[in-house]
């Protein structure tokens, strides 16, 4: 059935007015016909999945035609803001969802900054974008209306120039009354590791969303308007203050996120011998990239809409002001790892500069860094040579060559065209099939985090079962490396609903921890809360299901208990697995890169550690059992029928 017919059928089922106070509309935007239809997510779907990532899955489930290809304009790109986005401190996030052109499975990525909140301020919870625009276009949202603009004047602009031009042309001020989701040249050129930029650095990163937006010929969505308070079911500001106080009183916020940001993690990772180095051939690297070496180049911190934490480190390399890449936003730990040890770079200044280049070119640093590291290992092994690279010498640690490669990648020039195909380089005939042995990916998605998870078994399980591919943000049991919690088994059992081994290398009970984290983090995405400030990701003390349930009640009037929300988290994972099943994903895809099963860690206190196949397989089966999944990783029949009834459309 053509997508327009699917949309029409869905619209006929959807309410035409808000179902609760603060609910925004879902705008169905036909980019080819320049037409907009509006409706609202029905209450049964809200109760089962909430908004943001949750309801995004409802729309994708209903509109996806898996007989097409991910970049087909009949496959929609869906933006969603959370139930509490823009309303609650540190809830500034939204998701972008589709069929991933990079991995071939579910694409679902998340960004903060100001765009998701301003979308909600304009009365939209979701934007469903489809059908290729005849010419490059730009959507302009203001006062709750969506207008189509000619984007041709902005074509070819990367993030820095685009933001300057848009601010000049549309008026307004970033962070006050102007926000944007946009692509740079990498997205225009359908680079599979391209992001949708939501700010100077913030981006919808994973799975190739930039390429998906580029395939629709949509350069940007500009959102304007004054911020305002929401009409809520009950007073909510008093409880907001409690949440803000809870955030600011938590040790990880006070001592790490507000002062330095996520680069703090580099040091524990390298000391542990768990720092992905040279495409995970090694697991530790120089202390010259420790967070304290960034201090001289960090003029301050920035933050997202109404977030009291301000965890984003800014940078200034103090180079000539005309140096486009001498200053910027970041790097976060992921970029530090992917453009440091993973490609053999040991100078902090080089990492910061490459971070700034990636942000300008609109690239996901996780997948882009991984694609470069993969190519470097293949070059090291002689599986590709100067002949394939067009004469480029892919030596570890050559920052100047990497910078050159990034520009080539964003333009699909020469060997950059190979890197632009990311994890699909073998499938597209660039590398020999045996190169897959060295690809650090699961379900076709390169690893998000630079951490090497051979030591940490809950971490490893999470990377294997994540529905969007190899990504820690879906379920990482970060507290697995937290000694105080490991040494308090009763408290740990309370956190995860049962006994979980204290030993990081053990497999016992780790499935419980992954299950609890996956549910909680899915709910966090559905309400719009930042992962860094969600309970269990970095601390046991941050806001979690209790606080979300209370504030959902205040804001929407929908009565919900923490246990109901836990079920929502499970439902979201269940729908994602139903979508992935349609895309051919099964148990065989809930796995890890071969290297981690076969090659032990060689340094540090955990030298000799790797993933045991039998233990892993048993842990995966236990995970399926407690997740109400079949042995092939899809919802059990009764639950599947329940989900399908809620989703409708069958």
């Amino acid at each position: 059935m053509p997508l327009r017919d699917r949309v029409a059928r869905l619209l006929a089922e959807l309410p035409d007015r808000p179902q609760y106070p603060t609910q925004g509309a879902t705008a169905f935007v036909d980019l080819e016909r320049r037409a907009v239809s509006r409706a609202y997510t029905p209450l049964p779907v809200v109760r089962a999945l909430l908004a943001g990532r949750g309801a995004n899955m409802f729309y994708l489930y209903r509109l996806l035609d898996e007989s097409l290809e991910p970049l087909d304009a009949e496959v929609p790109l869906i933006f969603g803001s959370g139930v509490l986005t823009g309303i609650v401190p540190s809830a500034a996030r939204g998701n972008a969802t589709s069929w991933s052109p990079e991995s071939g499975v579910l694409m679902d990525c998340n960004a903060g900054d100001y765009f998701p909140s301003f979308m909600k301020m304009n009365g939209f919870d979701h934007l469903v974008l489809y059908a290729r625009s005849p010419e490059w276009s730009l959507l302009h949202i203001r006062d709750g209306e969506i207008a189509f603009r000619d984007a041709r004047p902005y074509l070819g602009l990367d993030n820095v120039d685009l933001r300057a031009r848009v601010e000049a042309d549309f008026g307004g001020t970033w962070t006050r009354d102007l926000a944007m989701a946009s692509i740079a040249r990498a997205g225009e050129n359908l680079v599979l590791t391209s992001a949708i930029m939501a700010g100077p650095k913030s981006c919808y990163a994973r799975g190739g969303p930039g390429a998906k937006m580029g395939a629709l010929r949509l350069k940007a969505i500009v959102v304007q308007g004054q911020t305002h308070d929401f009409e809520t079911a009950q007073p909510y500001k008093g409880y907001n203050r409690e949440i803000a106080q809870k955030l600011l009183a938590t040790s990880v916020v006070k001592h790490a996120l507000r002062t330095t940001g996520t680069p703090f993690l580099y040091k524990p990772s390298r000391i542990l011998g768990a720092m992905g180095t040279k495409n995970n051939q090694e697991t530790t690297w120089t202390d010259q990239l420790d967070a304290n070496h960034i201090d001289p180049y960090r003029p301050g911190m920035a933050g997202c809409f109404r977030c009291p934490v301000n965890c984003r480190p800014l940078n200034d390399l103090k180079t000539d002001p005309s140096d486009r890449y001498g200053r910027g936003d970041g790097p976060e730990y992921v970029t530090l790892g992917k453009f440091g040890p993973n490609i053999g770079i040991d100078r902090i200044e080089s990492v910061i500069r490459l971070n700034n280049v990636c942000n300008d070119l609109g690239l996901d640093t996780a997948s882009t860094g991984s694609a470069i590291a993969w190519a470097m290992e293949l070059f090291q092994r002689g599986m590709i040579t100067n002949r394939e690279t067009g004469g480029l010498d892919l030596r570890w640690g050559d920052a100047a060559a990497v910078e050159q490669l990034l520009f080539m990648l964003s333009r699909r020039e020469g060997f950059g065209g190979v890197l632009a195909d990311g994890a699909r380089a073998v499938e597209r005939g660039h590398y020999p099939p045996e190169a897959l042995r060295y690809r650090m990916a699961v379900k076709g998605l390169m690893q998000s985090d630079p951490h090497d998870a051979r030591i940490l078994k809950a971490f490893a399980l999470g990377l294997a079962v994540s529905t969007r591919g190899m990504d820690h943000l879906r379920n990482r049991v970060t507290l697995e490396i937290n000694a105080r919690i490991n040494d308090d088994p009763a408290f740990k059992a309370t956190l995860y609903g049962g006994p979980v081994s204290a030993a990081p290398t053990a497999y016992d009970g780790k499935e419980l921890a992954v299950r609890v984290c996956e549910n909680l983090f899915a709910v966090g995405d559905a309400v719009g809360m930042c992962r860094f400030t969600t309970k269990l990701f970095n601390s046991p003390s941050l806001p979690g299901l209790d606080q979300f349930a209370a504030q959902i009640g205040n804001v929407t009037g929908l009565v919900t208990e923490p246990a109901d929300l836990d079920r929502v988290g499970l439902n979201i994972m269940g729908v994602e697995r139903l979508i992935n099943r349609r895309l051919g994903v099964g148990r065989q895809d809930d796995t890890l890169p071969e290297r981690w099963f076969e090659e032990p860690v060689t340094v540090g206190a955990y030298a000799g550690e790797k993933i045991d196949r039998q233990e892993f397989d048993a842990m995966l089966s236990r995970f399926y059992a407690i997740s109400n999944l079949t042995e092939d990783g899809v919802p059990q029949d009764a639950w599947r029928r329940e989900l399908e009834q809620t989703l409708g459309g069958l």
Binding site: S202, V252, L265, I271, D449, L473, N482, N486, D487, A502
Partner: protein
């Protein structure tokens, strides 16, 4: 003698980034007691769930309080967090 290196956020409160402990301490548990006597209130910070102890560049992930210490050991407090890319 044991040296204890503090992260920047605690160093600011302690007024130094490295403490030298000459009292006899045989374990991390002993060390926390000594530090709490020397810097009243710091015991709670050392017991904060954010910080892990590392001894001679080996990060301790469990059974921490029983970890034995010897003269010349270098102890460090390291924040353990995670980051991400959306």
């Amino acid at each position: 003698m044991i040296s204890v290196r503090l992260p920047a956020s605690l160093a600011a409160e302690a007024g130094t980034d490295t403490l030298t402990i000459s009292d006899p301490v045989r374990s991390i548990a002993d060390l926390i007691e000594v530090l709490d006597r020397r810097l009243p209130g710091f015991g709670a910070l050392f017991d904060d769930a954010l910080f892990n102890f590392a001894v001679n560049d080996e990060m301790l992930l469990h059974r921490v309080r029983d970890r034995t210490l010897a003269d010349g050991d270098r102890v460090e407090l390291i924040p353990t967090i995670s980051g991400g890319a959306g």
